[in-house]
Amino acid sequence: MARWLRLFLRLALGAVFVYAAWTKLRAPWQLFAMAVDAYGLLPLWAVTVVARALPWAELLLGLLLISGWFLRTASLAASALLLGLFAILVRTYASGIQIECGCFGPGDAISIRSLARDGSLLLASLVLAGMALWNRRRPALKS
């Protein structure tokens, strides 16, 4: 049962990461940069770095999750990324700023719906990371 759950979680999360990367990479990078800049958290040079690098990082994470390679590292990195993004989304929503999420391309405003979606992804990622870590510790416990 746990094996099937883990397979489902890594395929689902991997597909979401690949899709998120695709929505950003298919458009000029400046569109994602504008979405990142709207949060008002980073200077312009850092906005450029994030806008150019994050979609490729998402693609890499997605492919690693789907393939199952480096699953512990990939699931922990995905959890850290989703935790950071979720914290920024909650902070922005709570402060009443009405901007686009930027998570899946244009037309995706920050709302309760986007918070619920990203929160669910974070939860799934944490469960997957927990399962991956638990699997690693089990042989050591037996020995």
Partner: protein, 194 residues
Amino acid sequence: MRPVSFLLLGGLLAWAANPSQPGLKAVGSPSAPITIEVFSDFECPHCKTLHDETLPPLIRDYVAPGKVYLIYREFPLPGHPYALVAASYATAAAHLGKYNEVADRLWLHQTTWSQNGKVEETACRGLTPTETAKVIKLAKEPAIAAEIQRDVALGQKLELHQTPTMIVRRGTAVYPLAGMINYDLLRSFLDSLR
């Protein structure tokens, strides 16, 4: 009489084919390779920032050299009590070729009229008495309200959910840019489209 009738009919058909009359509220050459439609609400502070900070360099660097055709669209939000009135005066002024003049004044004094509600006074300041009378009369006509409604309907069709939003078109590609946009990023984006 017949040629005159044909001319009148032709004019009506041309108007019907292009109901929102972008030429009245537009800057630049319609044959420019890139078209930008700016959906704004006169009472929205972020729209004022966009008009004060982003549009002037955009007009200088891209519209004036014929690279971008800029169209202003009205998108008054329900939560702003004077936004629709302001849009009516600006749209009425467009029919006298005074859109930019009136719109600039509305943006400049936004914080004042959005507090005291004296939209007409702000919009018509600087116009001649004849122009003022025409703008006031036009602003109350159903045709002006219908023109604004067409802009709103277009925005809804494009699934706008905030103002300001710029719709950038290059050929068949359409890119919605929502919110305040950093001009350096906008410039980089427009250069990438050429």
